[in-house]
Subunit: 108 residues, 2 copies
């Protein structure tokens, strides 16, 4: 996790709309328009928030017909933020890797 990666992630997290978008994506992917409809701001503004989240590597996009579906990039948020937390208050945070993916990790 390079330092400028952390930078883009924390910049992305600085905006409440973007934090809410991440939260909304927790239950699964959503189309850009579905996301936009949950906020009082206009589509283009939401679109830019999504672009910022994507640039930070926090979300992925996928085209589905004429919609663009956004989804969380698994682990990315926890790893970036967790790495930072571990440099400031390591005794307080424990990161757990997801098991839903088949990524085999060491025999513990």
């Amino acid at each position: 996790m390079a330092d400028d990666e952390a930078a883009s992630v924390f910049k992305a997290l600085a905006d409440p709309t973007r934090r809410q978008i991440l939260h909304d994506l927790r239950d699964g992917e959503l189309a850009a328009g579905e996301i936009a409809s949950r906020f009082p701001i206009k589509g283009p503004s939401v679109s830019r928030h999504l672009a910022i989240l994507k640039a930070a590597g926090l979300v992925d996009e996928r085209r589905d017909a004429n919609k663009i579906m956004y989804s969380l990039v698994e682990d990315r948020l926890a790893l970036c933020v967790g790495e930072f937390l571990s440099t400031v208050c390591p005794e307080q945070v424990v990161l757990r890797r997801r098991r839903t993916t088949r990524t085999r990790k060491a025999t513990s």
Copy 2:
């Protein structure tokens, strides 16, 4: 943890200088000048960063003679950030509360 509390914390974390300050404070309190001397920017700029961190509740200040000592507010960072993480990827983060309220100061 009110939402605007999270807002001030994440805003504070958005700046790399402020993240570094938090990191530097990990080993114990530091005078404003000691902190400033670690950065290429001028004193007043650092002073404002410290004020922002303090407003976010992430650091505390204490006067010692003619110096002002800054220190981490224990738990605050982990609790704020951890609460947010738990709303996005709860299965990945485990928060461990500190066991003692002792202030970590130079043990040597």
